[in-house]
C-alpha cells in the first residue's frame, strides 16, 4: 500500500515535469500534440495525487500504525472525524494536502478552459505545473508521508499511536487548515493567468475577467480560514483572545490583505484601464505571500506560540520563491510597454483616488505586518542581535490603518469617478456625517472616553448610513417605477448589479466586524483563587464556584468546575470550564466555558487547582464586550461575497471590453 502511495507521488513528480516542459516547448515550437499531451499529463498528475492522498487517508482511518505518520498523528480512541483531520495534522500530510489541492485546481482550470484561451493556456499550465513540481519534490524527497516504522529490516507496527494533538481535536481546527490552504492554493490560478497574459502579450483584461470568480472564491476561503483560526484561538487555546499577531496568524493575514487590495484595484483596470502594472504586481505578490505563508508555518524560521515544525524545508521554499519572483519581475519589466495606463488621475476628490488610497493603506498594512513578523530575522542579519516586536507594535500601526480604511469604505463608493465637486460631496455625505457626530456625542454622554473606540463607532455609523442610503435610493426608484414593495425592489436592485450591491454587503460585514474589534477596548478580566462556595465578582457578574468534579473516557480524563453565574443578582446558568488530559499524549488542555451574547461574552477558564490549597481552584474570568459581532460580521461578509458571485441580471458592458473581444478572435485563428 505505502509503496504504491510513494510510487504514485514519484510518478506524479515525473509527469508534472513532463507537463511543464511539454506545454512550454509545445507553445514555443507550435506543436499542438505536445500541448495536448501536456494537458493530459496534468489530468494524470491529479489521478496520481488523489491515489496517494487516498492511501494516506485510508491508512489513517484504518489505524495502520506501521506508518510513521499514522503512528505519530492518530490513535485508536480518536473519533473518525479527527482520524481524517489527522491528514493535515502534521508536516508531511499538510504538504500532501497542498499538493493534492494544487493538482485538483489545475484540473478544474484545465477542464473549464479546455476550449478557451488556446494561446494562453500552455503558459497557465506551465505555471501550475512548475509549482506542482516543487510541491511534488517536497512530497517525494523531503517530507515523504509514507515512511514505515522499521526495526532492522523488519517493518514493525506500534500498538497504538500518539494521537492527534489535543488542541487540534476541535471542529473549527479540523476545517481551518483546509480552508486556509484552499485560500493559499487558489491564488495560483489568477496568478497563472496573469503571468500567461504577460507572456502572450494580451492587451486586455481577459485574465482579470476569467479569474474574477476564482479570486473571489479564494478570497472567501481565505477569510473563512482566518476567521476559523481566530474562533479556534478564542474558544480552544484559552488565552482569552482571538488574535495575537503571532507569525502564523500574520502569515495567513498577509496574502489576504494584498488580495483585498487586488480585488479593489482590478476595478480601476476594468473600468478605466489604469493601474495595469500595479495589478500584475499585486496578484504576483499575493501568490508569493501565499507560498511565503506556507514557508513561515512549515519551516520554523520565526519562533511562534504555534510551535510549528522546525525543518530543512526553508531553503527549498526560498529557492522556489526566488526563482518565481525573479522570473515574474523580469516578465513584468519586459512587458511594461503593454501595461501602459489608458487614463490619468484627474482629481484628489475622485473614485480613482479613493481606490489608490485604499491600495496604499492596505499595502502599508501588509508591509508593517511583514516587517514586524520578520523583525527578529532582520535584526539578527543586520545587527547580529535578535529583537522581536510584540502586539503593541502591530496594534499601533494597524488600528489607525483600519480606521482610515473604514472611512474609505464609506467614502469610496459614493464619490464620483474622475472628479467630484464639493457641492456633490456635501449632498452625499450630509446624513452620514450627522450620524457620525451623533454617535460620538451619544457615546461620550454615556461615558465612553476611549478615543479610538469613539472614532471607530462613529465611522461604523457613518459607513452604515452610506450603505443603507445606497440601497434605499436605488430600490425606491425601482419600487416606484415597477410598483413593487421596497423589499422586493431591494432584491431586484441587488440582482441587477450583484457586484456592486454584494460589495456593499461585504462592506457591511466589515463594519460589523469592526464593531466587534472595537469591543476589545472595554475588555475586563480577573484571576482568583477560590474555594468551593466562594464568589468572584467582575463587572455586573457574580460567579460562585459550586463544585469540582472529575472523570474519564478512553480519549481523555477531565476535571470540571461547576460555576453558577449571575448578573445583577439574577441567576443565569451553571457554567463548566474544564481541564482535560489526553491519554495518549498526556497533554493537558483547557476547555473554556463561554456564555455568548451579542453584546458581550462571559468567558471562564479553569486554570488549575491551587498547589498551596488543594481545595481551591484558580479561575480566570473575562468579559469580552461585542466579540460576537466579529462572527456575525463574518457571516454577512460571506453572504455578500456569495451575492457577488451570482451573475448580474443586467450585463454592464464597457466600450473597452469589446476591444478585447475583437482581439481575442484575431488571436485564435486556429480554432
Amino acid at each position: 500500500m505505502e509503496t504504491l502511495g510513494a510510487f504514485a507521488i514519484l510518478l506524479a513528480f515525473c509527469l508534472a515535469i513532463y507537463a511543464f516542459s511539454a506545454s512550454l516547448v509545445g507553445s514555443i515550437r507550435k506543436r499542438a500534440f505536445l500541448i495536448v499531451s501536456g494537458e493530459r499529463a496534468v489530468y494524470a498528475v491529479w489521478v496520481l495525487m488523489t491515489t496517494a492522498a487516498g492511501i494516506l487517508v485510508y491508512s489513517l482511518m484504518t489505524s495502520d500504525f506501521r506508518l510513521a505518520y499514522v503512528a505519530a498523528r492518530s490513535n485508536r480512541a480518536m473519533p473518525m472525524v479527527y482520524k481524517f483531520a489527522a491528514w493535515w495534522g502534521g508536516q508531511e500530510g499538510s504538504l500532501l494536502l497542498w499538493s493534492w489541492l494544487l493538482s485538483t485546481f489545475s484540473v478544474m482550470v484545465l477542464w473549464t478552459n479546455r476550449r478557451k484561451f488556446r494561446d494562453m493556456m500552455p503558459y497557465v499550465i506551465a505555471v501550475l505545473s512548475f509549482t506542482q513540481i516543487f510541491f511534488c519534490t517536497l512530497n517525494a524527497f523531503i517530507e515523504p508521508p509514507f515512511q514505515v516504522l522499521a526495526v532492522g529490516k523488519g517493518v514493525q507496527a506500534v500498538a497504538d499511536g500518539n494521537g492527534l494533538n489535543p488542541l487540534l481535536q476541535h471542529p473549527a481546527m479540523a476545517i481551518h487548515p483546509p480552508m486556509l490552504y484552499l485560500g493559499y492554493v487558489g491564488f495560483i490560478v489568477p496568478f497563472a493567468f496573469a503571468f500567461a497574459s504577460l507572456v502572450t502579450k494580451q492587451p486586455g483584461e481577459a485574465w482579470i475577467a476569467t479569474t474574477r470568480r476564482w479570486s473571489l472564491i479564494t478570497w472567501a476561503f481565505q477569510s473563512t480560514g482566518i476567521l476559523l483560526g481566530a474562533g479556534w484561538a478564542y474558544a480552544v487555546l484559552g488565552w482569552g483572545g482571538y488574535w495575537g499577531w503571532d507569525p502564523v496568524e500574520n502569515a495567513s493575514l498577509l496574502p489576504w490583505i494584498t488580495a483585498t487590495a487586488f480585488l479593489h484595484s482590478v476595478m480601476m483596470q476594468e473600468k478605466k484601464g489604469m493601474m495595469k502594472v500595479w495589478n500584475m504586481v499585486l496578484i504576483s505578490a499575493t501568490f508569493f505571500l501565499c507560498i511565503f505563508g506556507t514557508f513561515l508555518t512549515r519551516s520554523g524560521v520565526v519562533s511562534s506560540v504555534h510551535a510549528f515544525a522546525q525543518s530543512s524545508l526553508g531553503s527549498w521554499f526560498l529557492g522556489f520563491l526566488s526563482i518565481a519572483v525573479g522570473v515574474t519581475t523580469f516578465m513584468i519589466i519586459k512587458r511594461l510597454d503593454y501595461l501602459k495606463s489608458e487614463a490619468h488621475l484627474e482629481s484628489v476628490l475622485s473614485r480613482e483616488s479613493s481606490f489608490l488610497f485604499n491600495n496604499l493603506i492596505l499595502l502599508a498594512s501588509s508591509f508593517a505586518v511583514l516587517w514586524g513578523t520578520l523583525f527578529p530575522v532582520l535584526t539578527e542579519a543586520v545587527m547580529g542581535e535578535k529583537i522581536t516586536v510584540g502586539a503593541p507594535f502591530f496594534n499601533k500601526v494597524n488600528i489607525p490603518i483600519g480606521l482610515f480604511l473604514l472611512l474609505l469604505t464609506g467614502v469610496g463608493p459614493l464619490i464620483a469617478w474622475r472628479r467630484s465637486s464639493w457641492e456633490s460631496l456635501k449632498r452625499a455625505f450630509r446624513w452620514p456625517t450627522v450620524f457620525f457626530a451623533l454617535t460620538i456625542v451619544g457615546l461620550v454622554a454615556a461615558g465612553v472616553y476611549h478615543v479610538y473606540a469613539l472614532i471607530s463607532f462613529g465611522l461604523c455609523a457613518f459607513v452604515t448610513v452610506t450603505i443603507v442610503m445606497e440601497f434605499f435610493k436605488g430600490s425606491r426608484a425601482i419600487a416606484i417605477k415597477n410598483q413593487m414593495n421596497l423589499l422586493r425592489a431591494m432584491v431586484e436592485l441587488t440582482h441587477r448589479n450583484t457586484r456592486r450591491y454584494g460589495g456593499y454587503l461585504v462592506h457591511m460585514g466589515i463594519v460589523i466586524m469592526f464593531i466587534g474589534f472595537t469591543g476589545a477596548a472595554f475588555n475586563k478580566d480577573t484571576t482568583k483563587e477560590v474555594k468551593i462556595g466562594e464568589h468572584i465578582q467582575l463587572g455586573n457578574y457574580d460567579l460562585q464556584v459550586k463544585q469540582v468534579v472529575d472523570g474519564d473516557n478512553p480519549n481523555y480524563s477531565w476535571q470540571r468546575a461547576v460555576i453558577g453565574a449571575s448578573k445583577n443578582g439574577t441567576f443565569l446558568e451553571d457554567m463548566t470550564p474544564e481541564r482535560r488530559v489526553y491519554v495518549s499524549s498526556q497533554q493537558p488542555t483547557s476547555q473554556v466555558s463561554i456564555r455568548r451574547r451579542l453584546h458581550e461574552d462571559l468567558y471562564l477558564n479553569f486554570a488549575s487547582m491551587s498547589q498551596t490549597d488543594p481545595s481551591a481552584a484558580i479561575i480566570q474570568v473575562y468579559i469580552f464586550p461585542l466579540v460576537s459581532c466579529i462572527w456575525v460580521g463574518f457571516y454577512v461578509l460571506l453572504f455578500g461575497t456569495l451575492i457577488c458571485l451570482v451573475p448580474s441580471k443586467v450585463k454592464y458592458s464597457y466600450a473597452r471590453t469589446e476591444v478585447v473581444g475583437v482581439y481575442a478572435k484575431q488571436a485564435q485563428p486556429t480554432k
Binding site: 503512528a71 488565552w239 510549528f308 488621475l345 476535571q559 499524549s585 483547557s590 491551587s610 498547589q611
Partner: protein, 149 residues
C-alpha cells in the same frame, strides 16, 4: 500636474505618519532575545530592557500563588536556573508544563529573578519533533503520570 503634487503630498503625509507610528511601536515593544547565561551577565544599565528568554521548565517548579505563577527555567547544558514570576493577565498556554520549552517575555528584577508579562510554551509533541527525530520512536510522552495541576 497640480493634482499629482497634491496627491504626492497626501501620500507622503500618510506614509510619514505610519512610519512614525511604526517606529514608536517598535521602541515600545522591542524585546531582546537572550539566553539565561547572557541574561545573568547583563550590565546593570541594560537590565531594564525588555527581554525574551527561553529555557526548559524545571520539573516540579511550577507554583501558583493566586494570580501569580512562579517557576524555574533552565538552559540545556548549563547549570544555571532562572526564577521566573509570571504576572501577566492571559491564561498560561496548555503546553506550559514540566519540561516544556518556555519562552518568557519580561524584565530582569533587581533581586535576579525575572518578571514575565507573557509566556509562550512549546510542547515537544506538537506538530513535529526536532529535525531528524522519529516522532513515533520517542516515548509517548508518558514518562510522568497524569496530573491535573
Amino acid at each position: 500636474m497640480k493634482t499629482y503634487a497634491r496627491f504626492t503630498l497626501l501620500v507622503v503625509a500618510i506614509v510619514g505618519t505610519l512610519a512614525w507610528l511604526a517606529a514608536s511601536g517598535i521602541n515600545e515593544s522591542k524585546t531582546y532575545y537572550k539566553t539565561i547565561s547572557e541574561l545573568k551577565q547583563l550590565p546593570g544599565g541594560e537590565a531594564t530592557k525588555r527581554v525574551r528568554v527561553t529555557g526548559d521548565v524545571v520539573p516540579g517548579s511550577i507554583k501558583r500563588d493566586g494570580e501569580r505563577v512562579h517557576f524555574q527555567i533552565a538552559e540545556k547544558g548549563h547549570p544555571q536556573i532562572l526564577n521566573v514570576v509570571y504576572t501577566g493577565k492571559d491564561p498560561l498556554p496548555d503546553t506550559f508544563r514540566d519540561n516544556a520549552q518556555a519562552m518568557a517575555d519580561g524584565k530582569l528584577q533587581a533581586d535576579g529573578s525575572f518578571q514575565a508579562s507573557s509566556i509562550a510554551a512549546k510542547c515537544p509533541s506538537k506538530y513535529e519533533a526536532a529535525p531528524g527525530g522519529k516522532p513515533a520512536a520517542q516515548p509517548l510522552n508518558g514518562a510522568k503520570p497524569p496530573s491535573m495541576s
